[in-house]
């Protein structure tokens, strides 16, 4: 479970994140929605320590992450797939995956790789080739697979649907749903694509100008016409 309490952060005098609180429950998908510039990426980057929090706290299963450096988070069970995906294109697919396991200070086993290749068969074909040749959808699968190899308790995903064909988005989101159901993974799903995100999320939080404006069950949010028009654009 990931708990964010009264988190504020920013890049200059203007706060990009203003007193944000949220709880991502164990075995649930929590969607973080909002327009471009709402502060979604900043929220994830502050959780990961890439952006320094001005105030507030983040804790993982009750353990405060204040003062924990970004590099130590995977070993504690927090995986963050950044916006733009973060494929290391100069490395092979398999090397990317091995880095995932290294993050939790373990060696990659053959069983580890097989598990990921079973989830994403296309990656198996690409294993020894450079990740550079992967398509957008394959890259997203690679970074999710890589994150899973660090055996996360909580997975932060920043706009996984960005730039992907709708069919691929459906495929990846269904797979996420399955991982949450079968492995008890906790997911914080940042999306501008609110409709798709709410279709698999349990709860949703809507950000606007760095503040939480609404939080509710995903179904309730999806059914709220006023909200949809005001913040979610569908």
């Amino acid at each position: 479970m990931l708990t964010v309490d009264n988190l504020s952060a920013g890049y200059g005098p203007v706060p990009a994140l203003d007193d944000v609180s949220l709880t991502a429950g164990h075995g649930e998908i929590t969607a973080v929605l909002g327009a471009n510039g709402a502060g979604k990426t900043t929220l994830l980057r502050t959780i990961s320590g890439l952006v320094r929090a001005r105030s507030g706290t983040v804790s993982l299963d009750g353990r405060p992450l204040t003062g924990v450096s970004t590099e130590d988070l995977p070993a504690l069970g927090l995986a963050h797939v950044p916006e733009g995906r973060g494929v290391l294109a100069e490395l092979t697919v398999e090397e990317n995956l091995r880095l995932g396991a290294l993050g939790s200070r373990r060696k990659t086993t053959a069983a580890d790789l097989r598990r990921i290749y079973d989830l994403f068969p296309v990656l198996a074909e690409r294993g020894t080739g450079l990740a550079h040749v992967l398509s957008g959808g394959e890259r997203q699968m690679l970074v999710i697979g890589r994150a899973l190899l660090s055996r996360p308790k909580v997975l932060l995903l920043d706009e996984p649907s960005l730039g992907l064909a709708p069919k691929v988005v459906v495929q990846i989101f269904e797979l996420l749903r399955g991982l949450v159901r079968d492995d008890g993974l906790t997911v914080v799903l940042v999306e501008q694509n609110a409709r798709s995100a709410l279709s698999i999320a349990d709860h949703g939080v809507v950000l606007n100008l760095g503040k939480v404006v609404v939080r509710d069950d995903a179904a309730t949010l999806a059914a709220d016409d006023g909200l949809r028009h005001a913040y979610l654009g569908f």
């Binding site: 990961s48 890439l50 970004t70 590099e71 130590d72 988070l73 995977p74 070993a75 995986a79 963050h80 950044p82 973060g86 290391l88 294109a89 100069e90 490395l91 090397e95 091995r98 880095l99 995932g100 290294l102 993050g103 939790s104 200070r105 060696k107 450079l130 550079h132 890589r146 660090s150």
Partner: protein
């Protein structure tokens, strides 16, 4: 025929040394986008350390090992306590800092070791091998030079391609932020990268010095050739640095053998300009885009 053989052999021996120096530059460039101008004086300092030991009566090999080891330490110290200081700011700050270090190390060497010319030994001899009754331009030290550089290169390949540490180092070089999110201690990897680069630089310093004279600026000419070799290979590619070094060594040896040795620096400049004009990314430029 004899002339060509001589030219090629001289070119290869010279080329591997340029290759080593170029590799030292490339290792740092690809990880930090910094051209380390201090590489030459760093190698000069470590060669002096070897010389002091050798002159004190210790064996060449002890001096050799001490130089490589101090290269490792010096590289780590420079990264951790000089370059880290300006990290996160524009890379130009760090580059200027390495230029400053260039001057400081020169001055320091002149004070500590003196600025007179001192001869540096070369193991395995400097006499050409005999084939029948002709002497060829390959010396015992020449063979040692090629083998030493080859051993270090193979070692680096094994480290980078075959170990988890090497994988972490490569990841840090390509994308620091993503690497940190994957649990890689990027700072440590950078320190280690500078240390290894300085070790390779020290090796080239020892090999240039072998059988020649050492003084505080004896490495400065090598910077130019090493840099041209690195650019020839694409600056980003360790393999390119090695191939670039060999090509440059061969070309310059050809120029020196057939045209005139006084034209060598000019030839290096012409090669540099030709590469920058015709193939600015270097011969090994990857078509891949690099996220900076």
């Amino acid at each position: 025929m004899q002339q060509l053989l001589t030219t090629v052999l001289t070119g290869v021996t010279l080329g591997v040394v340029y290759a080593a120096f170029a590799l030292a530059l490339v290792l740092i460039w690809r990880a930090t986008r910094i051209v380390n101008f201090a590489q030459a004086p760093m190698a000069m300092i470590t060669t002096y350390i070897a010389l002091v030991l050798i002159d004190a009566g210790y064996s060449y090999w002890l001096g050799f090992a001490a130089a490589l080891l101090s290269g490792l330490v010096l590289g780590a110290v420079v990264e951790r306590f000089v370059v880290r200081f300006v990290s996160g700011k524009s890379e130009i700050n760090a580059v200027i800092l390495t230029l400053g270090l260039f001057i400081v190390l020169h001055a320091l060497a002149a004070i500590v070791f003196g600025s007179r010319y001192r001869s540096f030994p070369a193991p395995f001899g400097l006499r050409g091998f005999q084939i029948g009754d002709t002497t060829i331009a390959l010396t015992g030290f020449g063979v040692f030079t090629v083998v030493a550089v080859a051993v270090v290169m193979v070692g680096l390949v094994l480290l980078f391609r075959g170990t988890d540490l090497g994988l972490r180092m490569r990841a840090s070089a390509f994308n620091q932020e993503v690497s940190r999110l994957l649990g890689v201690k990027v700072g440590r990897m950078l320190t280690l990268g500078w240390a290894l680069a300085a070790l390779v630089g020290s090796l080239s310093g020892l090999l240039i010095a072998g059988g020649g004279l050492v003084h505080p600026s004896y490495m400065d000419g090598v910077v130019v050739y090493g840099f041209v070799a690195a650019v020839l290979g694409g600056l980003d590619s360790p393999v390119g640095a090695v191939v670039g070094g060999l090509l440059l060594g061969l070309s310059l040896s050809l120029v020196s053998g057939y045209v005139g040795s006084e034209l060598v620096p000019l030839a290096a400049l012409v090669i540099l300009m030709a590469v920058l004009l015709l193939k600015p990314g270097g011969l090994f430029a990857s078509v891949r885009e690099r996220r900076v």
